[in-house]
């Protein structure tokens, strides 16, 4: 079953076609990677899927229904979560508070009950906390639970960003360059997590990545973009050997 489908999606900024007629589909339960040189439109594509940008052309389908015009804040409730290339964490809050915010899409309490902090709100808070603790456990973040983001090293921030996305209990996870800025050991950890996310949690992963080793290790399918257009698609091996991809991106 195709969880996400893009049909001829395009977006233009002034005269520049950042994304120009891109079509692809992501099968449920797989890891789908998008590669390409800088400026190819990869993050722009992500921004289109999370509805931060409006496409000028084309349509996006998620779990069968069209999401091309859905409001940006409704995307999380649909089950799509994302991480950001340049880390958009809440600097002046603790790791725990950041992760708890990931649960916002599952908020079931009304404003009045929150003002009075009724026992049902208390119970829901404990439930949210239990779900967040599972993610903290999964990502080994116990040590940083009560630390403010402002003092944390880059590697930890990337993990918290991933954790926050996982807390939304997504069906589709968009990872924007998960290994950028990480050293070899941290990248290895990231590879294991992506494996576990796919196999144990059953989440479909769509990611943008530059680290070819990581791409080969975890991906089921790869798409190569250049100048906003698709230049190759297939298994990691096929795409990495494709002549146009080699010319535009990988080199000899």
């Amino acid at each position: 079953m195709n969880l996400l489908e893009a049909k001829d999606v395009a977006v233009q900024f002034g005269g520049i076609k950042a994304v120009d007629g891109v079509s692809f589909s992501v099968s449920e339960g797989k890891v789908f990677t998008i590669i390409g040189p800088n400026g190819a439109g990869k993050t722009t594509l992500f921004n289109l899927i999370s509805r931060i940008y409006e496409p000028s052309h084309g349509a996006l389908y998620y779990a069968g229904s069209e999401i091309t015009n859905v409001a940006p804040h409704k995307v999380a409730a649909l089950g799509i979560a994302r991480t950001f290339q340049n880390i958009e964490l809440f600097e002046h809050a603790t790791v725990l508070q950041n992760l708890l915010l990931g649960r916002h899409a599952h908020r079931k309490s009304s404003l009045v009950s929150e003002i009075l902090f009724t026992p049902s709100v208390r119970r829901m808070e404990v439930e949210h906390r239990e779900k967040v603790e599972k993610v903290i456990d999964f990502l080994d973040l116990e040590h940083y639970r009560d630390s403010l983001i402002a003092g944390l090293p880059y590697g930890v921030r990337k993990v918290v960003e991933l954790g926050r996305a996982l807390c939304t209990e997504p069906k589709l996870l968009l990872l924007d360059e998960p290994s950028s800025g990480l050293n070899t050991e941290e990248t290895e950890d990231m590879a294991f997590w992506i494996h576990d996310i796919k196999n144990d949690l059953g989440i479909t992963v769509l990611m943008v990545e530059h680290d070819m080793a990581l791409v080969s290790e975890v991906s089921d399918e790869v798409l190569a973009l250049n100048y906003g257009r698709v230049i190759a698609t297939g298994t990691p091996r096929e795409v990495q050997e494709h002549p146009e991809v080699v010319k535009a991106y990988l080199g000899t």
Partner: protein
């Protein structure tokens, strides 16, 4: 150094950290309740004023400290609350109607200014709130039939069970009750999803949106809650000044409210309280200062705003975390003694972070 050993999730959710905290706050509560027996009537009146300022401060803190939306015109909400309450009282309605009505109406006004302000960030929002405040001040002055225009009118004194509520001691308890309710309600919101959403909007709107926070709805809500609490403070304020005139709610008052939250410490309820104590005590401090200054300066009518300005400037330059920040630094010093490092809070060199793109 007190260490908190957590065994239950409720400990993170509870309002008090542990029993030591409960003890100290309990002692504070007893002291406040017993105050009318121990202090002179003048000081009880002053404390009531501090409580009123604190309610407004908590309201402003929700908006500016927690949601990151700057409001330069909060005195307008104080005025709307005060006038609504007083006018309804004059019409003969009972307290249980006028107070909630005033709070609700002010909240609606807050939502009204919040909604169009959704696309505005930083300075643009501040300017919009300033413009709003001026317009409200003019409206209050010109709407003679209802508000009594420039001349103003005297606020009726309500009674419950034969006690005139505006007498010093009953008013003290009423203010205290309202303050406790305001703080409790705000803290409840802050430990719930709504409060977290506010903080998210302050720190990163795009991330908040991708986590499911409806920016428009929550910003409007922040404005509404902030205005509502300030309106509640306004109802008490009306009785405090006992004669309502539109020029009481001018830009100087708005700046005083902002001074309160900045000097107290942005981003915490404690900050609002500290700020309220400071601004409440300020007139007394200025009076004392006048005795020390040379004659020519002391007698100037422009002295008070000048002192406000100087305090504001000094705090921004040297203690941006406010009184509460300084309090926490002092507590840290004592808890780490003798291992405290002077560079713990040293500010790093930074470049202007462009706020044209947030």
């Amino acid at each position: 150094m007190r260490f908190q050993f957590k065994t239950r999730y409720e400990q993170d959710i509870d309002l008090f950290r542990d029993n030591v905290d409960r003890f100290w706050y309990g002692a504070l509560a007893i002291a406040l309740l017993a105050a009318p027996l121990l202090l002179h009537e003048f000081w009880i009146g002053e404390l009531s004023y501090v409580f009123i300022l604190a309610i407004a401060g908590v309201g402003l803190m929700i908006l500016t400290g927690y949601t990151g939306l700057v409001s330069l015109g909060h005195a307008a909400f104080l005025g709307i609350g005060a006038y609504t309450h007083a006018v309804l009282l004059k019409m003969g309605l009972p307290l249980v109607v006028t107070v909630p009505a005033a709070t609700l109406l002010t909240a609606i006004f807050g939502a009204m200014i919040g909604f169009p302000a959704l696309r505005l960030t930083g300075v643009y929002l501040a300017i919009a709130t300033l413009a709003f405040a001026f317009i409200v001040e003019q409206a209050l002055s010109r709407w003679d039939s209802v508000t009594g225009g420039f001349a103003g009118f005297a606020v009726p004194k309500p009674e419950i069970f034969g006690i005139t509520l505006t007498d010093t001691v009953p008013f003290y308890f009423v203010s205290l009750a309202f303050l406790v309710f305001s703080i409790w309600a705000t803290l409840n919101v802050l430990r719930s999803p709504v409060g977290r959403a506010f903080v998210a909007i302050r720190d990163s709107e795009i991330a908040a949106q991708s986590m499911g926070v409806n920016l428009a709805a929550y910003k409007t809500l922040a404005f509404a809650m902030s205005a509502g609490l300030t309106g509640l403070a306004g109802t008490l304020f009306a009785h405090k000044i006992s004669f309502l005139a539109p020029d009481a709610f001018n830009i100087l008052l708005s700046i005083q409210l902002l001074l309160m939250v900045v000097v107290g410490g942005l981003g915490s309820i404690h900050g609002a309280i500290f700020g309220a104590i400071f601004v409440g005590a300020l007139p007394q401090l200025i009076a004392i200062l006048r005795d020390f200054l040379p004659g020519t300066i002391a007698r100037q009518p422009g002295l008070e705003p000048g002192i406000f300005g100087t305090i504001l400037v000094l705090f921004i330059l040297f203690e941006p975390l406010g009184f509460y920040g300084r309090w926490r630094k002092i507590k840290l010093y004592f808890s780490l003694f003798p291992l405290y490092k002077r560079a713990t809070f040293k500010r790093q060199k930074s470049y202007t972070k462009s706020e044209r793109f947030r």
